[in-house]
């Protein structure tokens, strides 16, 4: 998903650039406080690991391979702030020294590949860990689901950026439907691999896993294999469900969404004042612009809440208040 230069409008590049710079600034301060003077070598080696992990090809089915994106995994192992910083640095160096991803596209590339997966993915991880019993198996299951969700969130975030900065006459709902359904499949791979990686780290050095530091050794031993199978099936069902919903949005927008649109307050007449905000392209070709904006709005709200939750988590930890 290393978007090249000029893929989104200049204004969107600038706005996402400011947003990313601000968030990374906060994350930088948090990670400095967490790692103390170890932060430079440790974050550097962690970044080398993420970079190398993205080069590992995993077979998926019949000759096709995929690779890790790693944002959520990095956040769970290193903490959301350090994870976001590490992946941001990987993305910057890939653009500057490896010509992978545009330099003027750094704003949205960092947002989609580092900030949303790290903070959003970590929030999902925390949420699922609360729902599951305390134990190593739950950490593995939560990692898988968070990693899968982080990829879908990144795709949704890109679609919402498209709504503001589209450079081609393709409607938001087409982009959203296509991006999300493709990334649900990619997310399944990311989920399985991330869960397997965290299982290996938990077995050898559980003390290194930030997301499992609240567990005692006896609780960590609770890595019965059954939760993994359960989570695989649950994950598959959830992804199928999401894919079904996404494709519905991509089609015509069922009537139920109209009420959502009205509830959000951007239905037909009322959204007129919002129109100049969005790229003509992204709304022009839509059969029902109100529905699309409602979808984009609600998805955006969910992602924002998750990212903020992840960010706040780091800030709260820094204050020394245990949750």
């Amino acid at each position: 998903m290393h978007a090249p230069d000029g893929f989104l409008s200049a204004g969107t590049a600038l706005a996402t650039g400011a947003l990313s710079a601000g968030t990374v600034g906060v994350a930088l301060r948090q990670s400095k406080a967490r790692l103390r003077d170890k932060h430079i070598p440790l974050a550097g080696l962690a970044a080398a690991f993420v970079f190398a992990a993205q080069m590992i090809n995993f077979p998926v089915v019949a000759g096709t391979t995929g690779h890790l994106v790693g944002g959520a995994l990095a956040a769970i192992v290193l903490g959301p702030a350090v994870g976001a910083v590490v992946v941001t640095i990987v993305v910057i160096i890939q653009a500057l020294a490896f010509a992978d991803g545009g330099i003027t596209a750094l704003g949205y590339n960092i947002l989609n590949m580092a900030i949303v997966p790290a903070f959003g993915g970590f929030a999902v991880f925390r949420l699922i860990r609360r729902l599951l019993p305390a134990g190593g198996g739950s950490v593995i299951a939560a990692t898988g689901l968070a990693a899968g969700a982080s990829v879908v969130m990144a795709a949704a975030a890109f679609s919402i950026e498209w709504l503001f900065g589209a450079t081609a006459p393709i409607a938001f709902d087409t982009v959203f439907g296509a991006m999300v359904s493709v990334h649900v499949l990619i997310g399944v791979g990311e989920a399985v691999i991330s869960a397997m990686v965290i299982a290996a780290v938990l077995k050898a050095r559980p003390d290194l896993v930030y997301g499992a530091r609240d567990l005692r050794a006896s609780q960590l031993a609770e890595t019965r294999p059954s939760p993994i199978r359960v989570f695989l099936i649950a994950g598959l069902l959830i992804t199928l469900f999401v894919a079904a919903i996404a494709s519905q949005f991509a089609a015509d927008g069922p009537d139920g969404l109209e009420s959502v649109a009205r509830a959000v307050g951007i239905a037909q007449g009322e959204r007129a004042w919002l129109e100049p905000l969005f790229a003509d392209y992204a709304t022009a070709g839509i059969s029902n612009a109100g529905v699309s904006l409602a979808v984009a709005g609600s998805v955006g709200v969910v992602i924002t809440i998750l990212v903020t939750a992840g960010l706040l988590h780091g800030v709260r930890r820094r204050g020394g208040i245990e949750i």
């Binding site: 190398a52 998926v60 330099i103 081609a168 399985v192 691999i193």
Partner: protein, 254 residues
């Protein structure tokens, strides 16, 4: 990645472009790409001029065209997507060679392909004429937070080592008959990745201990060295200067 070694994108040379201080090159590449990105897509002539400028820079830096073309594969998925836009895009239809396509879709395709190609080519030329540690030094001199450049320096230094460590693990597994075919077969590979993380983390701790032994205080010493002279800045600024002039002209004549 120790001193004297180069990475895949660097082309060894002693040309005028190679000799320019890195901060001038990074700033110049960034400004050039910004100029390309803000140019209206209808100004086809402007993009032609940009391409000619990049070809000139490549000539001076003695970077082969085939080298650049081979490295452009990173934008290929987006270019393929761009080629679909005229067919799936909405709006007014026009006939090109008997096929009805979206008029604004064709413009959008041109816009994405042209800007992505020019942007990626500029990045490739920057990386081809500047070694990675130099790029990082340039970023540092451009006031990018030291934390980012310092962490990136460590990342680059240990990247090849880390990647090769994984290759050795994979080779050992393959030598013992490991042949993964689908997603479920990945447990050994993923476990190795987990091991790789632990080894990287522990190496980080060892490196930190070694740094402490050599008097590390928690802040990286300023190694940015001598700054670029006014003349060097002027030389590097000429490229984006012309590009920004072209972009302004393109807006003027629109």
């Amino acid at each position: 990645m120790g001193a004297g070694h180069a990475h895949a994108l660097y082309v060894h040379g002693h040309t005028a472009i190679h000799r320019l201080p890195p901060e001038t090159k990074v700033a110049s590449a960034l400004a050039f790409i910004v100029a390309v990105a803000i140019t209206p897509r209808e100004a086809i002539w402007a993009f032609g001029l940009y391409a000619m400028m990049l070809i000139t820079v490549a000539r001076i830096a003695r970077v082969d065209g085939r080298f650049v073309a081979a490295r452009l594969v990173t934008i290929l998925p987006f270019v393929l997507f761009a080629f679909l836009i005229p067919f799936i895009g909405g709006g007014e239809r026009v006939e090109i060679m008997g096929v009805a396509v979206s008029r604004s879709g064709v413009w959008a395709m041109w816009n994405i392909v042209a800007k992505a190609t020019l942007g990626a080519t500029s990045s490739i030329l920057l990386a081809a004429s500047t070694e990675v540690p130099e790029i990082l030094r340039g970023m540092q001199r451009l006031r990018v937070p030291t934390l980012i450049t310092a962490v990136a320096t460590f990342m680059i230094r240990y990247l090849e080592l880390t990647a090769e460590e994984f290759t050795r693990m994979r080779t050992a597994m393959v030598a013992r008959g490991y042949n993964p075919r689908w997603l479920g077969d990945n447990r050994p590979l993923a476990s190795s990745a987990g091991t790789l993380f632990i080894r990287s983390y522990e190496r980080g701790e060892r490196v930190h201990a070694a740094m402490l032994a050599r008097g590390f205080t928690g802040e990286m010493p300023d190694l940015s060295g001598e700054r670029a002279s006014r003349g060097q800045w002027l030389a590097a600024a000429s490229i984006p200067g012309i590009a920004l002039f072209i972009a302004a002209l393109a807006w003027w004549t629109r």
